[in-house]
Protein backbone atom coordinates (compact mmCIF):
# COMPACT_ATOMS: atom_id res chain seq x y z
CA UNK A 1 0.00 0.00 0.00
CA UNK A 2 0.95 3.63 -0.37
CA UNK A 3 2.64 4.21 3.01
CA UNK A 4 4.92 1.23 2.48
CA UNK A 5 6.22 2.90 -0.66
CA UNK A 6 6.15 6.50 0.55
CA UNK A 7 8.31 5.90 3.61
CA UNK A 8 11.31 4.34 1.80
CA UNK A 9 11.22 7.07 -0.84
CA UNK A 10 10.99 9.71 1.87
CA UNK A 11 13.94 8.10 3.67
CA UNK A 12 15.99 8.21 0.49
CA UNK A 13 15.18 11.88 0.00
CA UNK A 14 15.82 12.77 3.64
CA UNK A 15 19.12 10.92 3.39
CA UNK A 16 20.15 13.29 0.63
CA UNK A 17 19.35 16.14 3.02
CA UNK A 18 21.58 14.76 5.75
CA UNK A 19 18.86 13.16 7.84
CA UNK A 20 19.96 9.65 8.77
CA UNK A 21 17.44 6.99 7.85
CA UNK A 22 17.29 5.78 11.44
CA UNK A 23 15.54 9.02 12.38
CA UNK A 24 12.42 7.84 10.55
CA UNK A 25 10.75 4.58 11.41
CA UNK A 26 7.70 2.83 10.06
CA UNK A 27 6.05 0.24 12.24
CA UNK A 28 2.67 -1.47 12.34
CA UNK A 29 1.15 -1.75 15.80
CA UNK A 30 -2.48 -2.59 16.49
CA UNK A 31 -4.54 -1.05 19.29
CA UNK A 32 -4.38 -4.29 21.26
CA UNK A 33 -0.58 -4.53 21.30
CA UNK A 34 0.13 -2.18 24.19
CA UNK A 35 3.44 -3.83 25.18
CA UNK A 36 4.74 -3.78 21.64
CA UNK A 37 3.79 -0.12 21.30
CA UNK A 38 5.77 0.77 24.43
CA UNK A 39 8.77 -1.23 23.22
CA UNK A 40 8.77 0.36 19.74
CA UNK A 41 8.54 3.87 21.19
CA UNK A 42 11.29 3.24 23.74
CA UNK A 43 13.53 1.68 21.09
CA UNK A 44 13.05 4.64 18.81
CA UNK A 45 13.67 7.14 21.62
CA UNK A 46 16.97 5.44 22.42
CA UNK A 47 17.92 5.37 18.76
CA UNK A 48 17.35 9.12 18.44
CA UNK A 49 19.23 9.81 21.63
CA UNK A 50 22.21 7.92 20.20
CA UNK A 51 22.05 9.85 16.96
CA UNK A 52 21.99 13.19 18.77
CA UNK A 53 20.53 16.52 17.63
CA UNK A 54 21.13 17.97 14.18
CA UNK A 55 21.39 21.52 12.84
CA UNK A 56 18.14 23.42 13.05
CA UNK A 57 19.20 26.70 11.47
CA UNK A 58 17.23 28.24 8.72
CA UNK A 59 14.03 26.93 7.23
CA UNK A 60 10.57 28.30 6.83
CA UNK A 61 7.97 28.62 4.12
CA UNK A 62 6.63 31.71 2.45
CA UNK A 63 4.37 32.83 -0.33
Amino acid sequence: MKTARRIPLLKKMLGQLGIEEDRLRLDWVSASEADRFARVVNDMTEQIRRLGPFSRTGGGNNG
Partner: protein, 326 residues
Protein backbone atom coordinates in the same frame (compact mmCIF):
# COMPACT_ATOMS: atom_id res chain seq x y z
CA UNK B 1 1.51 64.54 -11.43
CA UNK B 2 4.82 62.73 -11.01
CA UNK B 3 5.06 59.34 -12.61
CA UNK B 4 5.26 56.35 -10.25
CA UNK B 5 8.79 55.16 -9.57
CA UNK B 6 9.79 51.59 -10.34
CA UNK B 7 13.01 49.80 -9.47
CA UNK B 8 14.18 46.44 -10.82
CA UNK B 9 17.05 44.70 -9.09
CA UNK B 10 18.82 41.36 -9.28
CA UNK B 11 20.62 39.41 -6.58
CA UNK B 12 21.67 35.75 -7.05
CA UNK B 13 19.91 35.38 -10.37
CA UNK B 14 20.96 34.93 -13.95
CA UNK B 15 19.54 37.94 -15.76
CA UNK B 16 16.74 35.84 -17.27
CA UNK B 17 14.05 37.70 -15.37
CA UNK B 18 15.39 41.04 -16.55
CA UNK B 19 15.49 39.71 -20.12
CA UNK B 20 11.88 38.55 -19.68
CA UNK B 21 10.92 42.16 -18.88
CA UNK B 22 12.75 43.27 -22.03
CA UNK B 23 10.92 40.49 -23.91
CA UNK B 24 7.67 42.32 -23.40
CA UNK B 25 9.05 44.02 -26.53
CA UNK B 26 7.14 47.10 -27.59
CA UNK B 27 5.04 46.87 -24.43
CA UNK B 28 8.14 47.86 -22.46
CA UNK B 29 7.85 51.25 -24.10
CA UNK B 30 4.32 51.57 -22.72
CA UNK B 31 5.67 50.72 -19.28
CA UNK B 32 8.53 53.19 -19.68
CA UNK B 33 6.03 55.91 -20.57
CA UNK B 34 3.84 55.26 -17.54
CA UNK B 35 6.57 55.04 -14.92
CA UNK B 36 10.01 56.36 -14.01
CA UNK B 37 12.46 53.48 -13.80
CA UNK B 38 14.83 54.70 -11.11
CA UNK B 39 17.13 51.69 -10.81
CA UNK B 40 17.76 48.75 -13.18
CA UNK B 41 21.39 47.65 -13.48
CA UNK B 42 20.93 45.57 -16.66
CA UNK B 43 19.60 48.56 -18.56
CA UNK B 44 20.31 51.82 -16.73
CA UNK B 45 23.38 53.36 -15.14
CA UNK B 46 22.06 54.22 -11.67
CA UNK B 47 24.40 53.35 -8.80
CA UNK B 48 23.82 52.12 -5.25
CA UNK B 49 24.46 55.62 -3.91
CA UNK B 50 21.48 56.84 -5.98
CA UNK B 51 19.23 54.37 -4.16
CA UNK B 52 20.74 55.27 -0.77
CA UNK B 53 19.88 58.92 -1.41
CA UNK B 54 16.21 58.24 -2.14
CA UNK B 55 13.69 59.02 0.59
CA UNK B 56 12.14 56.00 2.31
CA UNK B 57 9.01 54.77 0.58
CA UNK B 58 9.67 56.88 -2.51
CA UNK B 59 9.89 53.88 -4.84
CA UNK B 60 6.35 52.78 -5.67
CA UNK B 61 7.21 49.31 -6.95
CA UNK B 62 10.37 47.24 -6.58
CA UNK B 63 10.72 44.07 -8.64
CA UNK B 64 13.51 42.00 -7.13
CA UNK B 65 14.74 38.82 -8.83
CA UNK B 66 17.34 36.34 -7.65
CA UNK B 67 17.88 34.55 -4.34
CA UNK B 68 19.78 35.89 -1.32
CA UNK B 69 23.24 34.27 -1.45
CA UNK B 70 25.59 36.81 0.13
CA UNK B 71 25.70 39.71 2.58
CA UNK B 72 25.59 42.34 -0.17
CA UNK B 73 22.31 40.84 -1.43
CA UNK B 74 20.92 41.01 2.09
CA UNK B 75 21.99 44.62 2.48
CA UNK B 76 20.61 45.69 -0.90
CA UNK B 77 17.21 44.07 -0.47
CA UNK B 78 16.88 45.59 3.00
CA UNK B 79 17.74 48.96 1.46
CA UNK B 80 15.23 48.54 -1.36
CA UNK B 81 12.61 47.41 1.17
CA UNK B 82 13.05 50.64 3.12
CA UNK B 83 12.84 52.74 -0.03
CA UNK B 84 9.83 50.95 -1.55
CA UNK B 85 6.08 50.86 -1.01
CA UNK B 86 5.52 47.50 -2.72
CA UNK B 87 8.08 44.72 -3.20
CA UNK B 88 7.53 41.82 -5.59
CA UNK B 89 9.57 38.62 -5.34
CA UNK B 90 10.06 38.40 -9.10
CA UNK B 91 10.76 34.96 -10.52
CA UNK B 92 11.39 31.56 -8.99
CA UNK B 93 14.73 32.47 -7.38
CA UNK B 94 13.26 35.30 -5.33
CA UNK B 95 10.11 33.32 -4.55
CA UNK B 96 11.55 29.87 -3.82
CA UNK B 97 15.36 30.08 -3.98
CA UNK B 98 15.40 28.72 -7.50
CA UNK B 99 18.34 26.93 -9.05
CA UNK B 100 20.87 28.81 -6.88
CA UNK B 101 18.91 27.30 -3.97
CA UNK B 102 20.54 23.97 -4.88
CA UNK B 103 23.53 25.47 -3.09
CA UNK B 104 21.70 24.47 0.10
CA UNK B 105 22.65 20.85 -0.66
CA UNK B 106 26.31 21.67 -0.06
CA UNK B 107 28.35 23.69 2.40
CA UNK B 108 29.89 27.09 1.68
CA UNK B 109 33.30 25.64 2.45
CA UNK B 110 32.78 22.95 -0.18
CA UNK B 111 31.66 25.54 -2.74
CA UNK B 112 34.75 27.67 -2.18
CA UNK B 113 37.02 24.65 -2.28
CA UNK B 114 35.55 23.32 -5.51
CA UNK B 115 35.38 26.63 -7.35
CA UNK B 116 38.72 28.12 -6.35
CA UNK B 117 40.94 25.13 -5.59
CA UNK B 118 39.71 22.00 -7.36
CA UNK B 119 38.21 23.04 -10.69
CA UNK B 120 40.60 21.87 -13.46
CA UNK B 121 40.02 24.95 -15.59
CA UNK B 122 41.21 27.29 -12.84
CA UNK B 123 44.83 28.35 -12.57
CA UNK B 124 45.20 29.17 -8.89
CA UNK B 125 48.61 27.77 -7.85
CA UNK B 126 48.69 29.86 -4.67
CA UNK B 127 45.32 28.50 -3.59
CA UNK B 128 43.83 31.96 -3.07
CA UNK B 129 40.29 32.08 -1.77
CA UNK B 130 38.13 35.21 -1.92
CA UNK B 131 38.34 37.29 1.26
CA UNK B 132 35.86 39.76 2.68
CA UNK B 133 38.68 42.23 3.39
CA UNK B 134 41.95 42.50 1.52
CA UNK B 135 44.72 45.04 2.08
CA UNK B 136 46.30 46.26 -1.11
CA UNK B 137 49.16 48.81 -1.37
CA UNK B 138 46.68 51.60 -2.12
CA UNK B 139 44.12 50.82 0.57
CA UNK B 140 41.55 48.18 1.35
CA UNK B 141 39.11 46.15 -0.74
CA UNK B 142 35.92 44.47 0.40
CA UNK B 143 33.78 41.61 -0.84
CA UNK B 144 30.53 40.28 0.64
CA UNK B 145 30.49 36.94 2.46
CA UNK B 146 28.25 34.03 1.50
CA UNK B 147 25.22 33.82 3.78
CA UNK B 148 24.97 30.63 5.87
CA UNK B 149 22.44 29.34 3.38
CA UNK B 150 20.62 30.50 0.25
CA UNK B 151 17.50 32.39 1.33
CA UNK B 152 14.32 33.35 -0.47
CA UNK B 153 13.46 37.04 -0.59
CA UNK B 154 10.65 36.68 1.96
CA UNK B 155 13.02 34.96 4.37
CA UNK B 156 14.93 38.28 4.55
CA UNK B 157 12.41 41.10 3.99
CA UNK B 158 8.66 41.56 3.93
CA UNK B 159 7.34 40.82 0.43
CA UNK B 160 3.91 41.86 -0.85
CA UNK B 161 3.65 39.74 -4.00
CA UNK B 162 5.22 36.70 -5.59
CA UNK B 163 5.52 36.21 -9.36
CA UNK B 164 6.70 32.67 -10.11
CA UNK B 165 8.46 31.41 -13.20
CA UNK B 166 11.94 30.72 -14.42
CA UNK B 167 11.55 33.21 -15.93
CA UNK B 168 8.02 34.59 -15.60
CA UNK B 169 6.46 34.86 -19.06
CA UNK B 170 6.35 38.36 -20.59
CA UNK B 171 2.52 38.10 -20.60
CA UNK B 172 2.49 37.34 -16.89
CA UNK B 173 4.78 40.30 -16.28
CA UNK B 174 2.48 42.62 -18.23
CA UNK B 175 -0.46 41.22 -16.26
CA UNK B 176 1.26 41.99 -12.95
CA UNK B 177 2.19 45.52 -14.04
CA UNK B 178 -1.36 46.11 -15.29
CA UNK B 179 -2.89 44.91 -12.01
CA UNK B 180 -0.54 47.16 -10.08
CA UNK B 181 -1.05 50.18 -12.32
CA UNK B 182 -4.85 49.90 -12.11
CA UNK B 183 -4.90 49.21 -8.36
CA UNK B 184 -6.34 45.73 -8.89
CA UNK B 185 -3.69 43.61 -7.21
CA UNK B 186 -5.05 40.95 -4.82
CA UNK B 187 -4.43 41.32 -1.06
CA UNK B 188 -0.72 41.26 -0.15
CA UNK B 189 0.82 37.82 0.26
CA UNK B 190 -0.60 36.58 -3.01
CA UNK B 191 1.21 34.51 -5.60
CA UNK B 192 0.24 36.07 -8.91
CA UNK B 193 -0.40 32.96 -11.01
CA UNK B 194 -3.07 30.27 -11.21
CA UNK B 195 -4.73 28.84 -8.11
CA UNK B 196 -4.79 25.36 -9.60
CA UNK B 197 -2.04 22.80 -10.01
CA UNK B 198 -0.30 22.29 -13.33
CA UNK B 199 -1.89 18.83 -13.48
CA UNK B 200 -5.33 20.39 -13.33
CA UNK B 201 -4.52 22.71 -16.21
CA UNK B 202 -2.47 20.34 -18.37
CA UNK B 203 -4.25 19.30 -21.55
CA UNK B 204 -2.61 15.89 -21.83
CA UNK B 205 -4.85 12.84 -21.67
CA UNK B 206 -4.93 11.25 -18.24
CA UNK B 207 -6.30 7.72 -18.16
CA UNK B 208 -5.05 5.67 -15.33
CA UNK B 209 -2.48 7.00 -12.90
CA UNK B 210 -0.58 3.80 -12.28
CA UNK B 211 3.03 3.17 -13.26
CA UNK B 212 5.25 0.14 -12.92
CA UNK B 213 8.50 1.82 -13.86
CA UNK B 214 10.04 5.27 -13.56
CA UNK B 215 12.10 6.37 -16.54
CA UNK B 216 14.82 8.99 -16.55
CA UNK B 217 13.96 11.65 -19.11
CA UNK B 218 16.56 10.50 -21.64
CA UNK B 219 15.38 6.90 -21.60
CA UNK B 220 12.15 7.33 -23.56
CA UNK B 221 10.62 9.66 -26.10
CA UNK B 222 7.18 10.13 -24.62
CA UNK B 223 3.93 10.16 -26.55
CA UNK B 224 2.95 13.79 -27.02
CA UNK B 225 -0.70 13.39 -26.10
CA UNK B 226 -0.58 11.25 -22.99
CA UNK B 227 0.17 12.31 -19.43
CA UNK B 228 3.94 12.20 -18.82
CA UNK B 229 3.54 10.78 -15.32
CA UNK B 230 1.49 7.90 -16.71
CA UNK B 231 4.32 7.18 -19.13
CA UNK B 232 6.70 6.79 -16.21
CA UNK B 233 8.44 10.16 -16.25
CA UNK B 234 8.79 12.10 -13.02
CA UNK B 235 6.56 15.07 -13.73
CA UNK B 236 6.19 17.52 -10.85
CA UNK B 237 2.82 18.71 -12.18
CA UNK B 238 0.73 17.27 -9.32
CA UNK B 239 2.43 19.51 -6.77
CA UNK B 240 3.24 22.55 -8.87
CA UNK B 241 1.17 25.68 -9.27
CA UNK B 242 -0.23 26.25 -12.75
CA UNK B 243 -0.37 29.36 -14.87
CA UNK B 244 2.83 28.72 -16.81
CA UNK B 245 1.13 27.62 -20.01
CA UNK B 246 2.67 24.13 -19.69
CA UNK B 247 5.66 25.17 -21.78
CA UNK B 248 7.86 22.30 -20.65
CA UNK B 249 5.07 19.76 -21.18
CA UNK B 250 4.59 21.15 -24.69
CA UNK B 251 8.30 20.59 -25.28
CA UNK B 252 7.62 16.98 -24.28
CA UNK B 253 9.59 17.35 -21.05
CA UNK B 254 8.27 16.74 -17.53
CA UNK B 255 7.62 19.66 -15.20
CA UNK B 256 10.36 20.49 -12.74
CA UNK B 257 8.25 22.63 -10.43
CA UNK B 258 9.46 26.16 -11.09
CA UNK B 259 6.11 27.73 -10.12
CA UNK B 260 6.38 26.35 -6.61
CA UNK B 261 3.73 24.48 -4.63
CA UNK B 262 0.04 24.95 -5.42
CA UNK B 263 -2.29 26.48 -2.81
CA UNK B 264 -2.72 24.14 0.15
CA UNK B 265 0.65 22.42 -0.25
CA UNK B 266 3.21 23.45 2.34
CA UNK B 267 6.21 21.44 1.17
CA UNK B 268 6.49 20.74 -2.55
CA UNK B 269 9.04 17.94 -2.30
CA UNK B 270 7.18 16.03 0.38
CA UNK B 271 4.00 16.24 -1.66
CA UNK B 272 5.81 14.87 -4.71
CA UNK B 273 7.24 11.93 -2.73
CA UNK B 274 3.68 11.20 -1.68
CA UNK B 275 2.26 11.54 -5.20
CA UNK B 276 4.92 9.49 -6.99
CA UNK B 277 5.00 6.70 -4.41
CA UNK B 278 1.22 6.55 -4.52
CA UNK B 279 0.96 5.88 -8.23
CA UNK B 280 3.83 3.39 -8.35
CA UNK B 281 2.45 -0.14 -8.44
CA UNK B 282 4.03 -2.88 -6.37
CA UNK B 283 4.32 -3.72 -2.69
CA UNK B 284 7.00 -6.38 -2.44
CA UNK B 285 10.44 -5.43 -1.12
CA UNK B 286 11.72 -6.09 -4.64
CA UNK B 287 9.20 -3.64 -6.14
CA UNK B 288 10.12 -1.00 -3.59
CA UNK B 289 13.84 -1.53 -4.13
CA UNK B 290 13.30 -1.18 -7.87
CA UNK B 291 11.35 2.05 -7.40
CA UNK B 292 14.14 3.50 -5.24
CA UNK B 293 16.69 2.50 -7.87
CA UNK B 294 14.73 4.15 -10.63
CA UNK B 295 14.26 7.46 -8.79
CA UNK B 296 17.89 8.51 -8.78
CA UNK B 297 17.76 12.00 -7.26
CA UNK B 298 14.51 12.54 -5.36
CA UNK B 299 15.65 15.61 -3.41
CA UNK B 300 17.22 17.27 -6.44
CA UNK B 301 14.20 16.55 -8.62
CA UNK B 302 11.38 17.32 -6.18
CA UNK B 303 13.12 20.37 -4.72
CA UNK B 304 14.75 21.50 -7.99
CA UNK B 305 13.57 25.11 -7.61
CA UNK B 306 12.23 25.09 -4.07
CA UNK B 307 14.91 23.75 -1.70
CA UNK B 308 15.39 27.08 0.06
CA UNK B 309 11.62 27.39 0.46
CA UNK B 310 11.16 23.84 1.78
CA UNK B 311 10.54 23.00 5.43
CA UNK B 312 14.03 21.59 5.85
CA UNK B 313 15.53 24.49 3.85
CA UNK B 314 18.98 22.90 3.51
CA UNK B 315 21.05 19.78 4.14
CA UNK B 316 21.32 19.22 7.87
CA UNK B 317 24.48 18.26 9.66
CA UNK B 318 24.39 16.39 13.00
CA UNK B 319 25.84 18.32 15.91
CA UNK B 320 28.41 15.55 16.29
CA UNK B 321 29.73 16.43 12.85
CA UNK B 322 29.91 20.15 13.46
CA UNK B 323 26.36 21.22 12.70
CA UNK B 324 25.12 23.99 14.95
CA UNK B 325 21.89 23.42 16.83
CA UNK B 326 20.87 27.07 17.11
Amino acid sequence: MAKPKVALYWIAGCGGCDVAVLDTNEKILDIANLVDIVFWPIALDYKYHHVEAMPDGSIDLALINGAVRNTEHKKMVELLRAKSKVVVAFGSCAYLGGIPGLGNFVSNADILKRVYLEIPSNANPEGTLPQTHVKVPEGELELPALTDSVLTLAQVIKVEYFLPGCPPAPDAIMKLVELWATGKLPPPGAVVASDKSLCDECDRVKENKKITKVYRSHQIVPDRKKCLLEQGLLCCGPATRGGCGQKCINANMPCRGCFGPPPGVVDQGAKLVSAIASIYQGNTPADIARMLDEIVDPAGTFYRFGLANSLLHKTRVPASQGGSTK
